[in-house]
Amino acid sequence: MTEEMLVRQMKEGDKASFDLLYEKYKNMALRTAYLITGDRSYSEDVVQDTFVKVYLHCKELKNDSGFKAWMMQILVRTAYKCGRKKSRELPDDEVVQKADTGPNISLLEQVIMQEEAQAVAGAVKALPIKQRTVVVLFYYQGYQINEIAGILGCLEGTVKSRLYTARKQLRKALESDFGVTVSGVL
């Protein structure tokens, strides 16, 4: 069954279709919410509120094929609300624990890569939530500028501006905090 059919059936009140859509997107939604809020418990709250809203307001979705973008729109707005409530700091051990590397890398290289990963993650987390959201949608989700503008309900120029500022901040943070020299087009 296609996603459009599931959405149509969900709009007719079919809870089983909602359950299938939830199964498809639950982990992606949770991970995105986590990257935006920087907090596991908040990210669960965001996903919970997002999918409750999705089910209760699904009839408001006009284009059945645009489900994912619509759901992401709700998720981001919900995450914004949660994000305002919390500190953006993430305990270092969470980052270090995840910075696992492959088997063909020396211990020294592993340490360097872990520290680099930590620096990048820290720099992303230090961004203001609106910039961080654009970074997550652009780099992690792989959305295009126009798609992000649709999700955030803002102009493409605004997205470009936030992305530009975020890149600038990241570059500055990485160069000063870790001594990493970065290059590339801003």
């Binding site: 949770l30 990257l35 990963a117 990485l174 990493v180 290059s183």
Partner: protein, 260 residues
């Protein structure tokens, strides 16, 4: 220093690594399903006023001792009635009692000027955690009006199980073998999708008011009610922002019981 030309790729890698392995738990899905169920029930109650909903909730609390309630299975109660089934003349009360299935104590006019306005019989259900209906009963709601003042409602239904000792109130009055219990509480009525403010949370913690979802607009009102059980029937006389003291409401209850 190590030079990296693909620093933007690094961002993607790090972000992926950051949340790798993070998966949604079954507990999260359970919470979503429960919240959907609760929200739907709140939404379904929109055809009733939020005040009627509170009336149902208050009545539901009185029934928590018996049968399925004692097992802790009922997690929510809801009720509905249709205004088109309401009678506007006190002479038609017999018709409503027949629908309800039993005779009730009531009056057409109170000494303090409140007059019979209408009476309606409705259905009430109790649901368990899975949303299955595990309880059903009928209730009668009688409205009394006095000039442009807030309406006083008399809510009546059969007692479920032994409710002795369950009642509590700020003030009591004993009338023969019946005890009347008076209590009051302030409610903030809000739309189903309302999100609690910091002030709401503080006020809830201090018991300054309770939140009631399902209203079209936000408003704060004080509920006053007197409840009693007589001949296996639960009575609740209540209203919002009433200009009545506890003693005046006790007097009205006694008029209903026929002891005054």
């Amino acid at each position: 220093m190590k030079r990296r030309d693909n620093w933007e790729d690094k961002i993607k890698d790090v972000l992926t690594l950051e949340c790798d392995g993070l998966t949604a738990s079954q507990d999260l899905k359970d919470r979503i399903d429960e919240k959907i169920l609760t929200s739907q029930e709140a939404g379904n109650m929109k055809h009733l006023s939020a005040k009627k909903w509170i009336i149902g909730v208050v009545a539901g609390c009185l029934l928590i001792s018996g049968g399925v309630f004692a097992a802790g299975r009922v997690v929510s109660t809801s009720g509905h009635s249709s205004s088109k089934d309401a009678v506007k003349s006190y002479s038609e009360m017999g018709k409503q009692e027949k629908k309800l299935g039993f005779a009730v104590d009531s009056v057409e006019r109170f000494v303090n000027g409140y007059l019979f306005e209408s009476a309606v019989v409705g259905d009430k259900q109790g649901k368990d955690q899975e949303g299955n209906q595990v309880y059903e009963s009928k209730f009668m709601s009688i409205s009394y009006a006095r000039n442009a003042e807030p309406t006083v409602s008399l809510f009546i239904e059969k007692q479920m199980g032994d409710v002795t000792g369950l009642y509590s109130g700020d003030i009591t009055r004993v009338c023969g073998d019946v005890t009347l219990y008076y209590s009051s509480a302030t409610y903030k009525f809000v739309p189903a999708d309302y999100e609690l403010t910091q002030e709401d949370k503080v006020n809830q913690e201090k018991d300054n008011y309770f939140i009631s979802y399902g209203s079209d607009k936000v408003e704060i009102q004080k509920n006053s009610n007197v409840s009693w059980v007589k001949d296996g029937i639960v009575y609740q006389l209540l209203g919002f922002d009433l200009n009545l003291t506890a003693d005046e409401m006790f007097d009205m209850a006694e008029e209903i019981m026929g002891t005054k």
